[in-house]
């Protein structure tokens, strides 16, 4: 762990905030992707349609 001196709060805060925001974005994207994949598969199975 490097010595951040008196600015530790600002630096750690920035890294923390960035990681948090990116994690939320990635999480939401993955979650929506999985949900949509599942929903589509269900409807395709019900209708007997395939890609194309």
């Amino acid at each position: 762990m490097p010595d951040l001196g008196k600015y530790a709060v600002a630096v750690l805060g920035s890294y923390g905030a960035t990681v948090f925001l990116l994690a939320v974005l990635v999480g939401v994207s993955l979650w929506r992707s999985a949900r949509m994949r599942r929903a589509l598969r269900e409807v395709e199975a019900r209708q007997g349609t395939t890609h194309g």
């Binding site: 762990m1 490097p2 010595d3 951040l4 001196g5 008196k6 600015y7 530790a8 600002a10 630096v11 805060g13 920035s14 890294y15 905030a17 960035t18 925001l21 990116l22 939320v24 974005l25 990635v26 939401v28 994207s29 993955l30 929506r32 992707s33 949509m36 994949r37 929903a39 589509l40 409807v43 395709e44 209708q47 349609t49």
Partner: protein, 230 residues
């Protein structure tokens, strides 16, 4: 769809690699700036995020134009997918900027031209995303948001000039440019490049992933519509 499916894991892997490498390099193994102390480490997040915030908008503009001219559906959906990603990048740039500005300028927020422009950019992103979610018919939404994106771009540029006219500011000039690399010393420069690459890759990965989701959503919607009609 198949190409992007094969590409996606590689892109995701690479972006994680670059981000971790750049982040660790920047965070642990760079010296403090003699003036700014350890806060200089924020640059590895602030600058790439700000770049992607602007590139995100440019990408939306280009894909919107492609949709309006060529009526290529994937293009419109890619623009839709880029919106939230760009918004997040803008927020990251603003938050890290505020955290950086507090110790450096003694204030979280100043109505500095760059900061103000970014705040306005945030509003543009919000409006764009809100319009996408408000319009039900997907083609109508694509058309309307594309027109908004084009007009918005013109006004964003105008705002940039207007804001400069209004206040000349505290913010240092651009940290990176091709002809003046000495802006930022090499020790900071190399990890910064890695971080930028990481952000670019992350951006591309996320947009691809989200575009795939949007395409599926679109197909789902059509299948359900067909079901109702039958």
């Amino acid at each position: 769809m198949q190409t992007s499916a094969r590409l996606l894991p590689w892109l995701a892997g690479l972006s994680v690699l670059c981000l971790t490498a750049g982040g660790i390099w920047g965070f642990f193994f760079t010296p403090d700036d003699f003036r700014q102390g350890s806060t200089v480490k924020i640059i590895y997040l602030h600058v790439p995020a700000a770049m992607m915030a602007i590139n995100g908008w440019i990408m939306m503009l280009v894909t919107s134009l492609i949709w309006l001219i060529r009526r290529h559906h994937v293009s419109a959906l890619a623009a839709k997918a880029a919106g939230p990603v760009g918004l997040t990048m803008t927020v990251i740039a603003l938050v890290t900027g505020a955290l950086w500005g507090q110790p450096m300028w003694g204030t979280w927020w100043a109505w500095d031209p760059r900061l103000t422009s970014f705040l306005i950019l945030t509003l543009f992103y919000l409006g764009y995303i809100a319009l996408w979610s408000a319009v039900e018919d997907p083609d109508t939404a694509a058309d309307l948001t594309s027109v908004l994106c084009i007009v918005g771009s013109v006004f964003a540029v105008l705002s940039r000039y207007a804001v400069n006219f209004w206040n000349q500011g505290l913010h240092q000039g651009a940290s990176l440019s091709l002809d003046k690399e000495e802006n930022v010393a090499d020790v900071f420069y190399l990890p910064l490049l890695v971080c930028i690459a990481g952000f670019v890759l992350l951006f591309v990965t996320l947009v691809l992933l989200r575009t795939r989701t949007e395409i599926r959503a679109r197909r789902l919607q059509s299948l359900l519509a067909r079901e109702r009609m039958a």
